[in-house]
């Protein structure tokens, strides 16, 4: 696994590519950033990371970047920033220390810092590889394949307050009485029905008869219907129908006084009008 980290430093390939006139072979993407590139370069020095020569490293880095630029590879800005910073560091390291610039950070310290960062990154890489050499679940050791599982069942501890019950009762009663109040189909003789019946009954009377017939005798009997239609409804609808028929001139209607029986007769014959 640690070998993975050392791949991709393909100077040779880059050189070959340059000779052949091909650009863009240098795999700068192999390094995630300038620090990774520096780390690979440091490894190439084949000495302890603690003893790397920052000067040499800076030169190699700058040379590498230059090669990349010659190959017209698009370099991320941070590679260039690092290059210029290293160039600066290099100049500071070469120039004698004494002078008026004492406020500036010591070049040695900056170099040590860079070395530390490289060491820290290298350490993390080693740690990662160590981690993955541990016995892993599903690789070196295996968990039970068919665990039944430990279930946790929560049984509800049902609770309610007296208020809940009262409220529920109120809601339930109100709902059933108000919302669910369906009107029963009214048990009535419709006006339409009464009219048809009465017209037929009038026609049934002797056409030449001038006799008055009591309306009540023409009414349908209760047995005529499947349902129990109340007599009052039959009477009311029939009376209304008789008034309509009279108005239309199909029959005549007579009542001698309030609450006295009502009499009818056909009006298809020419008869004197009386009402």
């Amino acid at each position: 696994m640690s070998d993975d980290f050392q791949e991709n430093l393909d100077f040779e390939a880059a050189d070959n590519a340059a000779e052949e006139g091909e650009s863009l072979v240098l795999d700068i993407d192999g390094y995630e950033g300038p620090l990774h590139l520096l780390l690979e370069l440091a490894r190439k020095q084949k000495v302890d990371l603690a003893r790397i020569s920052i000067l040499e490293l800076a030169e190699q880095y700058i040379a590498f970047i230059k090669t990349a630029q010659d190959l017209r590879i698009e370099l991320a800005a941070d590679y260039l920033v690092m290059a210029s910073w290293l160039a600066y560091l290099k100049s500071r390291l070469i120039i004698p220390k004494d002078g008026p610039e004492e406020q500036l950070p010591e070049a040695d310290e900056l170099a040590a810092h860079l070395a530390f960062r490289l060491q820290r990154l290298e350490a993390m890489r080693r740690a990662a590889s160590g981690l993955f050499r541990l016995p892993q679940e599903g690789q070196a050791v295996f968990k039970r394949g068919m665990p039944e599982g430990l279930r946790s069942r929560t049984t509800p501890l049902w609770g309610a307050e007296i208020f809940d019950i009262l409220e529920a009762y109120g809601t339930s009663r109100s709902r059933s009485l108000i919302k669910n109040h369906k009107l029963p189909r009214p048990l009535v003789l419709s006006l339409e029905g009464a009219r048809t019946r009465l017209k037929r009954a009038i026609m049934g009377l002797a056409s030449d008869s001038e006799d008055w017939t009591s309306l009540d005798s023409l009414l349908p009997t209760k047995n005529e219907f499947e349902e129990d239609i109340p007599v009052s409804s039959i009477k009311a609808s029939s009376l209304l129908a008789s008034l309509e028929l009279t108005k239309e001139g199909h029959m005549e209607l007579r009542q001698s006084g309030a609450f006295t029986p009502i009499f009818v007769r056909g009006a298809d014959r020419k008869v004197d009008k009386e009402t």
């Binding site: 302890d48 160590g130 069942r153 007296i162 009663r173």
Partner: protein
């Protein structure tokens, strides 16, 4: 810097990896079992489905007597918390059947009753003795068996008897536990129509002639009720007798 700290740390990493791995390599303190048996055990343990003998044979050394090993392993595990069982010609480990209930951890969590249960309970309280059909009639909605069951399980509702009508439906009523839970001395302590109205719990649009029963909980059966003869449920029968006795006492 005299020594490369990275190298030193790397050595530390290396020795940790070794010691951590070694930790898992527990030397057998008890009796060591034969290698084939160990492998069989591991295979069956890690398998995601029951394995047939043929597959086991393929995965074990050629000379292994799989049948004998399986028998041995099954014997080793018989009586333990985990057993090696054979299901339809395949083998698998499973936790001992008698321990199954212990694998379920039952926790109690307070929960509010559903609206349906509350309404049903309220109707039983006010209208008892009441049949399911009557409850449905008052609610205007069907009442699922589960709803009444919940109330019975809670010990708040109970079967009282059977209504003396065609079909002899069961009648429901409330229990002493119901009174106790709701801090009622007597069922007649439940507020009546005017109280409910005053409290705004009854819809003001209810018709003037709206009636609601005075809640009563006659311990003895009413004239309209027959005793339950639910031999199906002996417990209940006993309860019923007991209560009856109590009455007489």
């Amino acid at each position: 810097m005299s020594e490369d700290r990275v190298e030193k740390a790397a050595e530390g990493i290396e020795s940790s990896v070794v010691s951590l791995t070694a930790r898992l390599q527990s030397a057998p303190e008890g009796e060591a079992i034969e290698a084939d048996l160990r492998l069989l055990e591991a295979l069956l343990f890690a398998a995601v489905e029951p394995i047939d003998t043929q597959t086991l044979r393929e995965r074990l050394p050629e000379d292994a007597d799989v049948g004998a090993l399986l028998a041995r392993l099954a014997r080793d595990y018989s009586g333990r918390g985990v057993n090696l069982v054979r299901v339809a010609d395949r083998w698998r480990f499973q936790t001992a059947i008698d321990l199954e209930p212990h694998l379920v951890d039952i926790k109690e969590a307070p929960r509010k009753l559903s609206k349906a249960a509350l309404e049903t309970l309220a109707i039983i309280a006010y209208h008892q003795p009441v049949t399911r059909a009557e409850i449905e009639d008052v609610r205007g909605v069907a009442v699922s068996k589960g709803t009444i069951d919940v109330l019975m399980e809670l010990g708040w509702a109970r079967l009282r008897g059977r209504r003396r009508t065609p079909g002899r439906p069961v009648t429901y009523g409330t229990t002493e536990a119901f009174l106790a839970h709701f801090n009622l001395e007597d069922i007649s302590d439940l507020p009546g129509r005017d109280d409910l109205k005053a409290a705004g719990l009854l819809d003001p649009r209810l018709p003037k002639d709206f009636e609601m029963p005075e809640p009563m909980m006659p311990d003895a059966l009413t004239n309209e009720e027959d005793p339950l003869e639910d031999e199906d449920d002996p417990n209940f029968f006993e309860d019923f007798l007991e209560e009856d006795d109590g009455d007489r006492a």
